[in-house]
Subunit: 269 residues, 2 copies
């Protein structure tokens, strides 16, 4: 390849949907390879579109666009043919299909996905909730939560709480340490709200060693010894057995995957 | 409309990309209206595909799919014609365009967007960082952060920190209260790392009243009085003037919009 591949992203709003499609696609090609994304958000007229499409042609780029106005989508299609430019309509086909099943015209207002509506405030509240009740900071969170994550240190409790918060679920998480009994609130809530996060000891040891290294601490601290880890995991087993709650093995899972499993468990309950 | 519109989501991985496109499109139609999304993640063979497409046809649904294997995409296309089913290929056109600019075949491995790679761990670290250094909990966060958000209570500091964390930025946030001087670390860091979050007093009053109501407290508490708010905002002005940092008005912005503005400021620096 002679030159760096360039992808133009055009959106009438922030461009988050286009970003998601482009990133997911890039993951199928890129492996530390260079590329460039040129983002143009808030495009709402043909003058601006013309300028961006001309630049994309000059750069021999491909274009991914999300535009809710069908006239603007049509403009991009026609202009791309004239310019011999490869452009991909990311949201148009879905909008057109929905127009048929909803039997009405789209509202054609860019940025509706970022409305300050009830769903938005629920999501923001869930994010704040997860921060407030992270790491067992306040046991009152356990009683108010939709989901309570239970696990030893370094089982992704914090990032998992945040990913679930993005799905508007209120999540509290409780760390399991052999020296401290979990808060009594944990044994009072509906156990179907609790999820145990288990992990295999070798994996946990690796993660903790990395963690210590990152913190500039000695790798052979108690925290990352096999004996300590076995002890913590044994105590974790006792707690989740007593709770009789679902348990997920997070050993080789990305946070998104574990979050998805938890959503499935919740929906099947 | 006689029946509830149904959208089938098919993915060879979690389905997050398809979810994003479907939700963004739905926001153009739905306004409290009923609809249903039927999700089938981890589809990797034609047997499963055939079954889901048959169900979708029975339900008179539309189908949005993300499949990295071109043979499976082809299968959906052909089958949809036979079944007279409307199906939308969400990622195929982008993958095919990228194949041309990258001049190589895609890796065709589902779920590469959820790899446990360096970018993944950086993102997780940023999420944990934002939780750890939320609300000025520990001023050492200020020195390690990529971005420091400064604002009075209820200016979206916490959710904003989390949204920026998803973009792998380490964010600390510092609450501004007239009774307490901000930590001295704030005046020692590069001011271009700081972002002030301003808000108009009426808007802030509304938000705080709602907050008090949600917490079951009296709406006329000091926290939500005009005098108190003016006092806090005046002190905020002093702090950001002293810092000489960029300031964003968050009054009517969704967190995603403010996050996007911050990313633009960072990139232009």
């Amino acid at each position: 390849m002679l030159k760096k591949p360039i992808i133009y992203l055009i959106s009438d709003s922030l461009g988050e949907t286009a970003e998601k499609v482009i990133q997911a696609s890039l993951s199928q090609f890129v492996n530390g390879q260079e590329y460039e994304i040129v983002r143009t958000p808030y495009v709402e007229d043909t003058t601006k579109l013309k300028q961006v499409l001309t630049n994309a042609t000059r750069d021999k780029a491909i274009v991914g666009y999300t535009l809710v106005n069908p006239e603007l989508r049509q403009y991009v299609k026609q202009k791309s043919v004239l310019l011999n430019l490869e452009s991909i309509d990311i949201i148009g086909p879905m909008l057109e299909a929905m127009e048929r099943i909803f039997e009405k015209k789209p509202r054609m207002k860019p940025g509706l996905a970022h409305q300050l509506d009830e769903a938005y405030f629920k999501r923001v509240e869930a994010i704040e909730f997860a921060v407030q009740y992270d790491d067992g900071r306040d046991p009152r969170g356990i009683e108010q939560a939709d989901i309570i994550l239970v696990g030893v240190s370094r089982t992704s409790k914090t990032p998992l709480s945040q990913y679930l918060a993005l799905k508007s679920l209120k999540v509290a998480n409780v760390p399991i340490v052999p020296e401290v009994d979990p808060p009594e609130e944990l044994y009072r809530v509906d156990p179907s709200k609790c999820i145990g996060l288990k992990i295999n000891p070798e994996k946990l040891n690796d993660i903790r060693r990395e963690r210590l290294k990152a913190l500039g601490l000695k790798e052979n601290a108690n925290y990352a010894t096999h004996r300590r880890i076995e002890q913590e995991l044994a105590f974790f087993e006792c707690v989740v057995n007593k709770l009789a709650c679902p348990v997920i093995d997070v050993s080789n899972k990305a946070v998104e995957e574990t979050a998805n499993l938890i959503m499935q468990i919740k929906m099947s309950q």
